[in-house]
C-alpha cells in the first residue's frame, strides 16, 4: 500500500530557488565550493539566483568579480586545478564569448593535455535564451556550440527538480560542466526533493510517451514540445517527447530506442 504523500513529496520550489538550494547544500557540505561571478553578492545576481547566499557563506566564498569574464573564468579554472570547486556564474551566457579561450583552450583541454594527471572540476552557470526582450546580445542560445568541445559536459535542465540535481551532479563530477539555465524558467515552480540527490549526467528523460513521432527538445523547448504534443493528440497524432537534458554527453540510446518505435524524429531547439 502506498504511503500518504508527505510534505516533502509535494514540496515545490522555483527553478531559481532549486539552483540556490543546490549551491547552499554543496557549500555547506564542502568548504572547497565557492561561488564567483559578477554581482552575485549582495545584489544576488542579475536573476537573483544567488540571493542571500553571501549572508550565509560570506564574501570569501561568494565572490563578486570585476567585469572581467576572461580573467574571472580563468581564475575559476586555476582554482579548480588546485583544490577548489568553483561555481562560476556568467551573468548572461552571451558574455561567455569573452571567455572562450579559458573555457575551450584551458578548462576543456587541460585534463587531456596533462594525460589525466589533473582535473578541472569547475561549473559554469549560464543564464541563456530569449524571451526577455533584452535584444540580440542578451538572448542567445549557444549551448550547442559548447556541445562540440571535447572535454566539456553541457547540460540544460527543464525543471526545478533537474536544475537542482544537475548542479549537484556537476559538482560531484571531476570534469568541467556548463549548465545552461533558461531565463524564462527561473520563476517556474515544480516539485523539488529535499536534501542532496544527483540527476545523472548524460541521461535523457522521457516526458511523454507516443507512437507516431519523436520530439527531442531541451530546456524551455521541452515545455513547448509538450504543449504541441497535446494539440497533436487532438488531431489523432501521438507524439513522444524526450527531454535531452544533456547535450554532451548525449543519450543516443534513449533517442534511438524512441525513433525505432516511431520512425520519425523532430528536434526542437531554440538556438
Amino acid at each position: 500500500m502506498n504511503a500518504m504523500p508527505s510534505d516533502s513529496a509535494t514540496r515545490t520550489l522555483s527553478y531559481a530557488e532549486a539552483i540556490r538550494e543546490a549551491m547552499a547544500i554543496a557549500m555547506q557540505a564542502d568548504p572547497a565550493v565557492i561561488l564567483m561571478g559578477e554581482d552575485i553578492g549582495v545584489y544576488g545576481g542579475a536573476f537573483q539566483v544567488t540571493l542571500d547566499l553571501i549572508d550565509r557563506f560570506g564574501p570569501d566564498r561568494v565572490m563578486d568579480t570585476p567585469i572581467s569574464e576572461l580573467g574571472g573564468a580563468g581564475v575559476a579554472v586555476g582554482a579548480a586545478l588546485t583544490g577548489l570547486k568553483p561555481i562560476f556564474e556568467f551573468q548572461f551566457s552571451d558574455f561567455a564569448m569573452l571567455a572562450m579561450e579559458q573555457i575551450v583552450n584551458q578548462a576543456a583541454k587541460l585534463r587531456y593535455m596533462l594525460g589525466g594527471e589533473a582535473s578541472v572540476p569547475v561549473v559554469f552557470r549560464m543564464p541563456s535564451g530569449s524571451g526577455t526582450g533584452a535584444a540580440a546580445q542578451h538572448s542567445q542560445s549557444i549551448e550547442a556550440w559548447f556541445g562540440h568541445v571535447p572535454g566539456l559536459k553541457v547540460l540544460q535542465p527543464s525543471t526545478p527538480e533537474d536544475a537542482k540535481g544537475m548542479l549537484l551532479a556537476a559538482l560531484a563530477d571531476p570534469d568541467p560542466v556548463m549548465i545552461f539555465e533558461h531565463k524564462l524558467l527561473y520563476k517556474m515552480k515544480g516539485h523539488v526533493p529535499e536534501g542532496s540527490y544527483l540527476t545523472p549526467i548524460g541521461k535523457a528523460a522521457l516526458r511523454r510517451e507516443g507512437r507516431d513521432l519523436t520530439i527531442v527538445a531541451g530546456s524551455i523547448m521541452v515545455h513547448r514540445a509538450l504543449e504541441a504534443a497535446e494539440r497533436l493528440a487532438a488531431d489523432g497524432i501521438s507524439a513522444e517527447v524526450i527531454d535531452l537534458r544533456s547535450i554532451r554527453p548525449i543519450d543516443h540510446d534513449t533517442i534511438l530506442a524512441s525513433v525505432r518505435k516511431t520512425g520519425r524524429l523532430m528536434v526542437v531547439y531554440e538556438g
Partner: protein, 332 residues
C-alpha cells in the same frame, strides 16, 4: 645589491651547495634544449618547439626559493621552467617523444608539459593563457589556508593580452600570493616590444594595478633571485602580488619555422656575449664557491644526464592507438 666583500645577493643568501646545484640545472636546461633540438632534427619529436637557450638565469633564479608546494604556470617557452622547478629530463624527453613514460603520458608534448608533483601546472600553447590560471592557484592557496605562492611566467608578448590586465587587476584587488614574472626577450615572435608595447618597461604596467614592479637584468642570476626574494616574501606575508620583469634574449628563433628575418646576426652575437650561464659560473669561481675543475665536472654531468634522458625516452612505450580518446574525460 653587493655587500662589502662585493658579493651579490645570491652568493650571500644561498648556500654554496644550492648555488652549485643552480649552475648544474642551468647547464641541464641548455643541454636539454640542445638535445631536444637535435632530436627534432632526427625526427624523434613531431610538431614544433620553442627554445629558451640564453634565458636560463631567468628560469633558475626565479625558482630558487620555491618549494614543491609552490606553483608555477609556464609558457610555450617553458622547458627551462620545468627543469628549474625540479622535473626529470628523462621523463621530459619521453613526453616530447610522445611516450607513455612522459610526464603527461605523451599527450602534452613540449607545449603542454606539466609536472604536478613539483607544482608545475604546465606550459601553455596560448599566449597569456596561464595568467588567470596562476591567479586561481593563488586564490586556492589563500582560501585553503596554505602558505604556498604561485609564480606566473609569461613573455613580453603576453603583456598585450587582455588576460594579463584582468589577471593583474584581480590579483591586486584580492591581495593574492602570486608573482608575475615577465621574461622579456624583446620579441613576441617577430614583433619587437618597441613596436608592440606602449610602455618602455613592462614592469611599468604594475602601477596601473597598484603593485610593485621592477625591471632587472634577466641574465644576471643574482639580480633575478633578489627581485624574486623580495616579491615572494611580500606574497607569503599576505601583502599581495608583484610584477618582476627579467630582460633577456633567446638565442634561437621563435620556433622551428623562424628564419630570423626580423633581427640581425650582430644583435644575436652581441647577446651571446652576455651568456647567463658563463656569467654565473664566473661569479661562483670568483667568490671561491667553485673551481674550474668543479665547473667542468658540472658541465660534463649535464651532457651525461641528457644522453641518459634521451636513452630513457627512446626505450619507453608509445601510447596504444586504442587509447586515443583517453584522458578527455575522467574515468569513473
Amino acid at each position: 645589491m653587493k655587500d662589502a666583500d662585493n658579493r651579490p645577493f645570491a652568493l650571500r643568501h644561498f648556500s654554496p651547495a644550492a648555488l652549485r646545484e643552480a649552475l648544474r640545472k642551468m647547464y641541464l636546461i641548455r643541454r636539454f634544449e640542445e638535445g631536444a633540438e637535435d632530436s627534432y632534427t632526427r625526427g624523434l619529436i613531431h610538431g614544433t618547439m620553442h627554445l629558451s637557450i640564453g634565458q636560463e638565469a631567468s628560469a633558475m633564479a626565479t625558482c630558487m626559493e620555491l618549494t614543491d608546494d609552490d606553483k608555477i604556470t609556464s609558457t610555450h617557452r617553458g622547458h627551462g621552467h620545468c627543469i628549474a622547478k625540479g622535473a626529470d629530463v628523462g621523463r621530459m624527453f619521453a613526453e616530447f617523444f610522445g611516450k607513455e613514460s612522459g610526464y603527461c603520458h605523451g599527450r602534452g608534448g613540449s607545449m603542454h608539459i606539466a609536472d604536478i608533483k613539483t607544482g608545475n601546472l604546465g606550459a601553455n600553447g596560448i599566449v597569456g593563457g596561464g595568467l588567470p590560471i596562476a591567479v586561481g592557484a593563488a586564490l586556492s592557496a589563500k582560501r585553503l589556508g596554505k602558505p604556498d605562492v604561485t609564480v606566473c611566467f609569461f613573455g613580453d608578448g603576453a603583456n598585450n593580452e587582455g588576460a594579463f590586465h584582468e589577471a593583474l587587476n584581480m590579483a591586486s584587488v584580492w591581495k593574492l600570493p602570486v608573482i608575475f614574472v615577465c621574461e622579456n626577450n624583446g620579441y613576441g615572435m617577430s614583433t619587437s616590444t618597441a613596436r608592440s608595447t606602449a610602455v618602455t618597461h613592462i614592469a611599468d604596467r604594475a602601477v596601473a594595478y597598484a603593485m610593485p614592479g621592477v625591471t632587472v637584468d634577466g641574465n644576471d642570476f643574482s639580480a633575478v633571485a633578489e627581485a624574486l626574494h623580495i616579491a615572494i616574501a611580500r606574497a607569503r606575508a599576505g601583502d599581495g602580488p608583484s610584477l618582476v620583469e627579467n630582460l633577456t634574449y633567446r638565442w634561437r628563433g621563435h620556433s622551428k619555422s623562424d628564419r630570423n628575418r626580423y633581427r640581425t646576426k650582430e644583435e644575436i652575437e652581441e647577446w651571446k656575449t652576455r651568456d647567463p650561464i658563463a656569467r654565473f659560473q664566473a661569479e661562483l669561481i670568483a667568490h671561491g664557491i667553485l673551481d674550474a675543475a668543479g665547473a667542468e665536472a658540472i658541465a660534463e654531468a649535464a651532457i651525461a644526464d641528457v644522453q641518459a634522458g634521451i636513452a630513457f625516452a627512446k626505450a619507453g612505450p608509445s601510447p596504444d592507438i586504442s587509447e586515443v580518446t583517453r584522458y578527455v574525460y575522467a574515468e569513473h
